[in-house]
């Protein structure tokens, strides 16, 4: 049985704040230091209008449906924060040889994951090596 459809107006709002900063410091003729990072906070919210009342004949004839619209908005709500920071250092052993070390850390906090589930997680990479110029 079909009784057509009804609709309500919705409002979708997304907000994103992002911040990034960095420092480059030449500590001495032999040492360079870097530090930088960024932070992103993003949210999306669906606001439902008032749904029309379901006609009595519909609930009588299609009693199998509960017509509860209270959680429809949650289906499209999104919220996550991402944080990245990296630091690095270079030490000159001579004019041609230097040692390098750096590290990167990234973290994602997903508060409303639904298609892929909660995608919160973090990853870090530590690197070190020697640079030779010739």
């Amino acid at each position: 049985m079909h009784y057509g459809s009804f609709f309500s107006e919705t409002e979708y709002k997304s907000e994103t704040v992002s911040f990034s900063a960095g420092i480059l410091f030449l500590a001495s003729e032999k040492v360079n230091l870097t530090l930088d990072g960024n932070y992103i906070d993003s949210k999306g919210n669906l606001k439902m209008g008032e749904m029309p009342e379901v006609p009595q004949e519909v609930t009588d004839n299609i009693a199998a449906a509960d017509y509860d619209f209270s959680s429809i908005n949650e289906y499209s709500d999104l919220a996550y924060t991402q944080f990245n920071v990296s630091m690095g250092a270079e030490y000159m052993l001579s004019s041609r040889v230097s040692l390098t070390a750096d590290a990167t850390y990234s973290d994602l906090t997903d508060d409303k994951g639904y298609v892929y589930g909660i995608e919160s997680g973090s990853i870090y990479v530590v690197r070190t090596g020697v640079k030779i110029g010739f």
Binding site: Y3, F7, E9, K13, V17, N61, A64, G121, S122, T128
Partner: protein, 577 residues
């Protein structure tokens, strides 16, 4: 193209290019500058919890890896060459080799590989079951899903090889020949989801091989005769998936809950007569093989005080070889730039494009063939919305009385006529009228600011869609195809009016400090539809600063905010199917 062919291609390009650098540079006297840099080291990657999103472009291996990079830069008189190579891990390797000789030859070859991890659509967000609140007795009709490969690790490696060569013909400094190449190969595994017929409300997640190959080659020439510059570029691109098309078993079309065998037999007969296929294995998600050929001609003339004219014409033909369909387009454009006085400048643009896309014949079996009230032939022709004629024109007037400020005013028109939209031969037309005004102010070397306001009026933006049938008693037996006729009203998220503002301010009080602030904002509205007064607001302010208080310290920072709000409709069907 097999993986060994990729290696062969890289080696072949290197073999072809390196002798040139050897003969043009290395075999001659030692370069006057030669800088090598080698970095040897390693890295360790670790992660916690779900890493496929935060490390989407990481290899996804928790381990230590050796790493190496090598760079070289050299020049001698009017010859120069550069190389950079980086091995990060087995799935992320890059190199870049470029050189230039006597302003006669320039070449560049590069290779880049990367890996993309793909998360799995859990399908858990698709939930539906009738009568969950009926005296704690759930009904039977429900949506179900399954994962054939629950532990699948989706992801694919991307290889990109590019080359770019330009040669001036010896003896003719006014003729230049160009050649470009680009190949993109993607290989791995990805998720495909099969959606069954509504009689079973069932979705199946499968693992499918990825083996996509895109190759583009371009060649052309550029010649100068007096004040006139001619150029031609021909481009050919192919795309093909070498992965076999996945196959899925589509459920038997039967009533999802009916247990009575006699009734079920009737349902099977009824549903089977409505469907093109069921209860059998069917290929799905086929990726079409495509190719595109394009020719572009450009002419540019410098007429001195009378201005510059740039004309261009492009012909292209794209083919879907798998379906036997093609899209042809021809477009021409003219640009005229003239300065009537030292303080004024006019830029005028005009273009006309014609795109023709093949229609597709959709062949279907008779609907409910052999059943009472059935036998309808729903074969139809899909006319493409892409078939259209687009005409554009604009003019911009710029006035700069002195170095301190400049103002501009522009206006434009864009008309798009679609041959078969919304219906065949309807020639639905969207007309855009555009205007913008702005200026730039620079009172001194420490400050400059720019502001621009734009307005666009759009008549009949496409597409408009109709709402489902209205609420009411439609208990009379109607088939789904009959319900299409009951759609009503219009709704769209495309604006008829659009206002925009773009503001940028820059302040540099001294050589060590710079500050920048900007704001972008827009308001889109459409009050022409009967079901929704559409409105969308976007706002994006940003501030950034750099500071170098001493030669040892360099600091920078920025903050931005993005706001986007729009309205729409949520529609709910009242049905028990």
């Amino acid at each position: 193209m097999k993986r060994p062919f990729l290696k062969f291609l890289i080696v072949a390009i290197a073999v072809l290019v390196l002798p040139f650098f050897s003969s043009s540079a290395i075999s001659q006297e030692e370069p006057t500058s030669s800088i090598w840099s080698l970095w040897l080291g390693g890295h360790y990657t670790g992660y916690e919890d779900f890493y496929k999103k935060v490390g989407e472009f990481d290899r996804g291996e928790k381990e230590a890896m050796p790493e190496v990079s090598l760079s070289y830069s050299g020049y001698k008189e009017d010859q120069s060459w550069d190389f950079f190579g980086h091995y990060y891990d087995p799935k992320r390797i890059s190199f870049d080799l470029s050189g230039k000789s006597k302003d006669v030859f320039s070449g560049k070859v590069s290779y880049l590989s990367s890996y993309r991890q793909r998360a799995t659509d859990l399908l858990e967000n698709l939930m539906a079951r009738e009568a969950v609140n009926q005296e704690n007795k759930p009904g039977g009709k429900m949506f179900t899903y399954e994962h054939e490969n629950p532990d699948a690790d989706f992801g694919y490696t991307r290889h990109e090889v590019k080359s770019d060569f330009q040669v001036k013909v010896p003896g003719s400094a006014k003729l230049k020949i160009k050649a470009f190449h680009r190949s993109i190969l993607e290989k791995g595994d990805d998720q495909k989801v099969v959606s069954m017929h509504c009689s079973s409300c069932h979705m199946v997640s499968k693992s499918a091989k990825v083996d996509r190959r895109t190759h583009t080659v371009s060649a052309g020439a550029e010649a100068t005769t007096g004040p006139v510059l001619f150029s031609y570029l021909g481009s050919y691109r192919t795309f093909k998936s070498e992965a076999s098309t996945p196959v899925a078993f589509y459920d038997k079309a039967e009533h999802p809950t009916e247990k009575d065998s006699a009734k079920q037999e009737g349902y099977i007969k009824e549903f089977d007569a409505r469907m093109v296929f069921n209860d059998e294995k069917v290929p799905f998600g086929q990726i079409p093989e495509t190719e595109k050929m394009a020719h572009t001609l450009k002419v540019k003339t410098d007429m001195g005080k009378k201005g510059d004219i740039l004309g261009s014409f492009t012909n292209s033909q794209a083919k879907n070889k798998s379906a036997g369909l093609k899209v042809q387009s021809n477009s021409g454009g003219l640009k005229y730039v003239v300065s009537p006085s030292q303080k004024t400048k006019i830029v005028a643009l005009a273009s006309l494009s014609r795109i023709e896309s093949d229609e597709a014949q959709i062949d279907l079996p008779l609907w409910r063939d052999g059943l009472t009230g059935g036998g309808q032939d729903f074969d139809w022709i899909r006319y493409s919305n892409l078939t259209r004629t687009v005409a554009k024109g604009s003019a911009e007037f710029i006035y700069q009385p002195n170095r301190k400020y400049r103002v501009f005013l522009s206006t434009g028109y864009e008309g798009t006529e679609r041959d078969d939209y919304p219906d065949i031969e309807a020639k639905g037309k969207t007309t855009k009228l555009k205007a913008s005004v702005g200026g730039k102010y620079r009172p001194n070397s420490k400050f400059w600011g720019r502001i621009k306001y734009s307005f666009e009026n759009i008549k009949d933006p496409a597409p408009y869609n109709q709402l489902f049938e209205a609420s009411g008693d439609t208990l009379a037996k109607l088939w789904y195809f009959e319900r299409e006729k009951l759609r009503y009203g219009d709704v769209t998220n495309q604006p008829t009016n659009q206002h925009g503002i773009d503001l940028t301010l820059n302040f540099r009080p001294d050589r060590r400090t710079s500050l920048s602030a900007g704001l972008r904002a827009s308001l889109e509205t459409n009050g022409d539809t009967d079901s929704l007064d559409f409105e969308r607001t976007k706002l994006q302010p940003q501030v950034s600063a750099t500071l170098a208080p001493t030669p040892e310290w360099n600091l920078f920072g920025s903050i931005s905010y993005a706001y986007d709000k729009s309205n729409g409709l949520a529609s709910v069907a009242m049905m028990d199917g």
